[in-house]
């Protein structure tokens, strides 16, 4: 999965969890929880759905890296790419 695919996937999952948000105005480098009014439970669901769809598990210790849309997309793309 490349960075664009994972970017689209994260947006698609957000739209399922919080269909009220306007992802068009999202600053991709800022904390999605604040930007999109997601609570801890929404964020947890986002992580779980990403794992279901891609097999990429994100441990809590890595959460600081995936708080922004760009961070999460890059994390998922990198983790989902076999290291040869």
């Amino acid at each position: 999965m490349n960075a664009q695919d994972s970017h689209d996937l994260v947006l698609r999952v957000i739209a399922q969890i919080a269909p009220d948000v306007d992802v068009g105005s999202l600053d991709e480098d800022r904390d999605m929880r604040r930007e999109l009014d997601l609570d801890s439970l929404d964020f947890q669901t986002l992580v779980e759905r990403i794992a279901e769809e891609t097999g990429v598990q994100i441990p809590e210790t890595d959460y600081p890296q995936v708080r922004s849309l760009r961070g999460m997309a890059e994390y998922v793309a990198a983790a989902g790419t076999p290291s040869a």
Binding site: L38, L41, T45, T61, Y63
Partner: protein, 580 residues
């Protein structure tokens, strides 16, 4: 009244009188929470002690001493006077956890105004309902919260005169009565003498949800701080020099009673984290800020448990002396995890918005029985009252409540009135208020058992109120919003068990003729819920149903929905009407 009952009553009265005597009282007479929480520490020479340390999401922390807090809250009280806001008015707050929020709450109390803190994750509808019910004249908020949650309903808030904007952006709001809070604070004097305050004057209004109807505004008075300071010492073990972290938001009663009033009346230093939950960050705060007393919630503890040992690897939590939990039943697994993984005993406590302060607790020194919420605290007497098979309160031939017969029997928790922090009214709802009391007892609606050593074990709610992440959610409020959708004929909302947050809000929806279930419609309904109610209250899942079970009188039978969801027997369905 028997001699034993008389002795018990006198002993309770003596306990609360002694707790009152440990407070100062106002120089001008009476009792004011803000004086006991802030100013008197300056008078006693503790002005340089840290009252608060605010941890921002980024950047350095902001420290506020008791002296600085006294001056800032006086400025706020003065600015209310300058705006000609009369004593007894209700000041609402709607903001994340930042210094100005806490200053505004305490400053309004100094000015003898009531304070009603709203949870910042509420959507416009819960905000409107609460502010309209409280006839709020003043709102302290941020520009973005105003734009998202208040502007859409401002025309339905005719009593709102002043909007005090925290931080930047007041100039970007095109609305009546908007003021830049910082500018007003700057102009106000830091000297303020709190007027004589009757201990029975209104201090806080906390809204809470019931099974039916709109949220109820529980009114609390200044005398409540007698119970807050007493339980702060006896249950939370707060002592001079402590660094205390209450993780609750002031938008809920715990964040006010125990995030503000109790710790400050005890003169300790409060940590406030402005960020949302994050396991690694939380362990870091406990260690780096040298937190000695920690009051948190089962949902948070379960999320920490889920995060696993990697999240606290290398953390030294040896400085944490005492941990308490509140908001929902603390399951034994969490207690055992705390002992095993963190080396900490987690002390469960029980109370409600209506009780104002902790009523039942595992106090320091009491041996913890994992899964029990402990025993009644000093000054509090409880009984468990029987209910009949239909869930109604049982009465004897004289119409009096009937306590359970023996140990281990299930009954509704009842608390002998009065005590200082008991709510004094539901705003504008005297009948609903009266229905909470009988025979000198406050009836909590929570069901429990008691063992022979007096430990109380939570069983469940006696009504349909949902408890998600420690927050009470009224199913009717959620159903009302879903019913606004043109496709919805009927909606029934229940809590479905969830291992982390206790219950998740789920809605069953029956569609009008001409509408068919679809993914788009489901998303539409979830979006509507979140937009109007906010993420904290909105349903997380929607299930379409051909017919919803109704009573003869046409009310949704949530009990049946829940039984079906859980695959249980549906119980007595004799009141079930024929569904269309």
């Amino acid at each position: 009244m028997s001699a034993v009952e008389r002795d018990d009553r006198q002993s309770r009265e003596r306990h609360w009188q002694e707790a009152r005597d440990r407070l100062d009282g106002l120089p001008a007479g009476g009792l004011n929470i803000a004086y006991e929480a802030v100013d008197r520490h300056v008078v006693h020479g503790d002005g340089d002690t840290l009252a608060f340390r605010f941890l921002g999401e980024d950047g350095p922390p902001e420290d506020i001493t008791y002296r600085q807090l006294s001056e800032r809250t006086s400025r706020f009280a003065n600015l209310l006077a300058d705006l000609a806001v009369p004593a007894g008015s209700l000041v609402f707050t709607l903001s994340g956890r930042n210094p100005d929020l806490y200053v505004a709450m305490l400053g309004a109390l100094k000015a003898c105004c009531g304070v009603s803190p709203l949870f910042s994750a509420f959507g416009p509808e819960p905000v409107r309902q609460r502010m309209a019910a409280g006839h709020g004249r003043v709102l302290v908020t941020t520009a973005s919260a105003y734009r998202q949650k208040v502007a859409p309903v401002r025309d339905q808030l005719p009593d709102l005169e002043h909007v005090l904007v925290i931080g930047a952006g007041a100039d970007t709001l095109d609305a009546p009565g908007v003021h830049d809070l910082a500018a007003l604070m700057e102009r106000s004097s830091k000297d303020y003498e709190i007027p004589r305050t009757d201990p029975e004057d209104i201090a806080f209004v906390h809204f809470t949800s019931g099974t039916t109807g709109m949220p109820k505004g529980a009114v609390h008075v200044h005398a409540a701080c007698v119970a807050h300071s007493a339980t702060g010492r006896s249950v939370l073990d707060l002592q001079r020099g402590d660094i205390y972290w209450c993780t609750a938001d002031p938008g809920w009663v715990t964040g006010t009673s125990y995030g503000l009033v109790a710790p400050l009346t005890c003169g300790v230093t409060c940590i406030v984290d402005e960020a949302e939950f994050d396991a690694v960050r939380w362990y870091g705060i406990l260690e780096d800020e040298h937190v000695s007393v920690w009051y948190t919630a089962p949902t948070a503890l379960r999320m920490l448990m889920k995060a696993g040992p990697a999240a606290h690897e290398g953390s030294d939590l040896g400085g944490v002396r005492h941990v308490c939990s509140v908001g929902e039943p603390l399951n034994p697994e969490v207690v055992l995890w705390g002992q095993r993984e963190l080396g900490l005993d987690i002390h469960d406590t029980w109370w409600q918005t209506e009780t104002g302060a902790i009523m039942i607790a595992n106090v320091p020194g009491l041996q913890i029985r994992p899964g029990s919420m402990g025993r009644p605290v000093a000054g509090i007497e409880i009984a468990l009252m029987q209910r009949d098979a239909g869930g109604e309160r049982l009465r004897d031939a004289e119409g009096r409540l009937v306590p359970v017969a023996g140990f281990g029997d299930e009954g509704e928790i009842a608390i002998r009135t009065p005590w200082p922090s008991l709510m004094r009214a539901y705003l504008g709802a005297p009948d609903r208020y009266a229905s909470c009391f009988a025979d000198g007892w406050y009836l909590s609606g929570d069901l429990a058992r008691r063992d022979e050593d007096g430990y109380v074990w939570f069983v469940g709610r006696g009504d349909d109120v949902i408890k998600s992440a420690g927050h009470l959610i009224g199913p009717f409020e959620v159903e009302s919003v879903l019913m606004e959708h043109p496709a919805v004929a009927e909606a029934g909302v229940i809590g479905v068990p969830d291992p982390t947050v206790g219950e998740l809000v789920k809605a069953f929806v029956e569609l009008k003729g001409g509408f068919a279930p679809s993914e788009d419609l489901r998303r539409d309904l979830i979006a509507l819920g979140r937009r109007r109610l906010g993420a904290a209250v909105a349903p997380r899942s929607i299930e379409f149903a051909a017919h919803l079970p109704l009573t003869q009188s046409g009310k949704i039978m949530r009990r049946v929905l829940k039984a079906r969801e859980l695959g249980l027997l549906e119980g007595d369905l004799s009141t079930l009407g024929s569904t269309p």
